[in-house]
């Protein structure tokens, strides 16, 4: 008897249910042992703190001033690693320090990192961050609590959300649940699941009451896998290598034979 293959997991971030309490940020720091930062009010829009993700903050509730109906309102959004099905970061890593696991998390193996920061450059969601002040710096990003998921637990953030804005389960079920919520309350949700097919699909699915670009999400991303952009070229590389080498060798042989013949001709004539 073999155990059934584990189903990939996913998380719903339902921004319509978020009250901006930031318990997820606290739980995330706690589980991942990230130090506290000194914060000020109004680091970002409204009471948002900090302004952006960084090496100490793997997730962030964004406070966005949006005009809904006739009145201005704070609409919350959330930043965290999307755990892409086809992660650009992992495809860019020259040492496979980043890998996508079967359960969904894109995990970082710090023992392989050389610090080239190609993953930061590659990420379409601008997620991986670096601690530039550190003498042995590392990439920092949300882990999807891969260790907890492996042990059958939910990610830390999903356990603490007081309004069930964060749901966790098998990706198939989560996609169905997200669609169900949108269908059940079309007035509350915009009919879009951010992450369903962004860059080929992700393990985090966001729902919102307003268009995503209004709450700071990066929109307009391709619906296809980002790594394909480089694979197109890289997969032909070995063939190019053989082809070019043979071509240059042939050219060299031809040109040098000519000069050899000239030399011989010169001697005999």
């Amino acid at each position: 008897m073999t155990a059934p293959a584990p189903k990939p997991k996913a998380m719903i971030q339902d921004n319509t249910r978020c009250i901006g309490c930031r318990a997820c940020m606290v739980a995330c720091k706690s589980w991942n042992n990230r130090p506290a930062d000194h914060t000020d009010f109004f680091a970002g829009p409204g009471y948002q703190n900090p302004r952006d993700l960084d090496a100490n903050n793997y997730t962030l509730i964004t406070f966005n001033e949006v005009v809904t109906g006739a009145k201005p309102d704070w609409v919350f959004g959330r930043q965290l690693c999307m755990h892409c099905d086809h992660p650009a970061c992992a495809s860019a890593c020259p040492t496979t320090a980043l890998t996508k696991t079967a359960l969904g998390p894109v995990v970082f193996n710090q023992n392989r990192c050389i610090g080239c920061r190609a993953c930061m450059q590659a990420c379409p969601f601008l997620i991986p961050k670096y601690d530039y002040e550190n003498l042995a710096p590392l990439i920092h990003k949300c882990t999807f609590c891969a260790d907890r998921i492996e042990a059958g637990l939910k990610p830390a953030c999903a356990t603490v959300c007081p309004t069930s804005a964060i749901s966790f389960g098998d990706r198939d079920d989560m996609v169905a649940e997200a669609k169900r919520r949108i269908a059940a309350a079309p007035g509350t949700y915009i009919p879009e699941i951010y992450g369903l097919d962004e860059v080929g699909g992700t393990s985090v699915l966001h729902l919102s009451s307003v268009p995503f670009e209004q709450i700071g999400y990066i929109t307009g991303l391709p619906k296809t896998s980002m790594p394909d952009l480089t694979h197109r070229w890289l997969r032909v590389t070995p063939h190019f290598f053989a082809l070019l080498y043979a071509m240059f060798a042939a050219l060299t042989w031809i040109t040098h034979r000519r000069s050899r013949n000239q030399e011989h001709g010169g001697k005999t004539a």
């Binding site: 952006d52 993700l53 960084d54 650009a88 992992a90 495809s91 860019a92 890593c93 020259p94 040492t95 496979t96 392989r112 990192c113 050389i114 610090g115 080239c116 920061r117 190609a118 930061m120 450059q121 590659a122 379409p124 601008l126 961050k129 670096y130 530039y132 002040e133 550190n134 003498l135 042995a136 710096p137 590392l138 990066i218 307009g220 991303l221 391709p222 980002m226 790594p227 952009l229 480089t230 694979h231 197109r232 070229w233 890289l234 997969r235 590389t237 190019f240 290598f241 070019l244 080498y245 240059f248 060798a249 050219l251 060299t252 031809i254 040109t255 040098h256 000519r258 000069s259 050899r260």
Partner: protein, 393 residues
Amino acid sequence: MIPRIRLTWWDVTLLAIMAIGVVLAVARYAGGIGSVANINNAYPWGWWVGYGIMTMIALGGVGFTITLLVEVLGVHRYHALLRPSVLMALLCYSGAIIMLMVELGRPWMVWMILVSWAPTAALYEVGWCAFLYLSVLAFEFAQVPLEQLGWGRVLRVTRAIYMPLMLLGVTLSHLHQSSLGTLMTLIPHKINVLWWSDQLPLLFLFSAMMAGPALAILEYLAAARWLGFEPRMDMLASLARIEAWIVGLFLAFQVGDLVARGAVDAMLSWSWFALSLWIEVGLGLLLPLVLLILPEVRQSRGGLATACSLIVAGVLLHRLNVTVIGLRVRHWETYYPSLGEIGITLGITAGAIFVFGVLARILPIHEELTRSAAGPRRAVVPAGALRGARGIS
């Protein structure tokens, strides 16, 4: 016998710049990247990558371009440029490696690339190719000191394997010069439409080929001036003619690509990006193309130096535009190079020029000099191919 050279005012200046670079590099290792550099979470790659690696490797393309021309295509009239070009390439790649040791967050882990299997990563391929090519360059250039030392037995071995290794070097160059462009194709969402293209690998390869002859001509003119020999203007003029063709073809390719991708509007409407593109295309391609088309420019040292400098600067700006200037992430994020970043790259560049200048004075790098003057020991066959042997067998 240790060859003695007299340090000139130029050497002292270069050494001073190197010293500043070393001090800054020490500060970087003592205080972390953040203590000297402005690169940040939004712009993880800055001047160090754009200039210190991307441009240095592109300029290092002079090695494979001239080798391709002389050894593969058999155009022996440019033979005098071969040794200087291989040495320049060796120094450019060495400079890029030194830059990498400063730029990487964990440089002591860099060997990890060589024990990984990451065929999906452009950097993996670049890493392997650059490592192998640097070895090939070192092997190629090693023949010059070996000849000087008169180590005949070693030379016989190196000459026997020269041809396959030379071909390997030319092939590897094609691969990693293009892979640096492949690397950037991954981020269409960050790079401005003026520069992101799925043809970036070819654009990078061809622009490196374009930088090659320009740098070779510049070096030859500089050597003629400071080492004191009469430059063979007929040779330079004919190479400049080839270069004009390369620049013209590259211009057509780049503009054609912009048109094909529908980026003409972005090119013609005002923005800082458009301005940067116009400087790149106008001063780096159009102007040198016009100059090189004029026969009188091709025959004049000043004219050639101007045109070739513009081409090299244009390649630098192209690399910077693709990797740094053309990138936009969140609207409030910004990046400009710090003095520390610039200082370290200047130190590396000065080091490369200094080493070149020293080697050019103690080794038979330039045929024009080795013909007349003798080094500490007469070069075995200085006028031969890079491998020294006369003719090719």
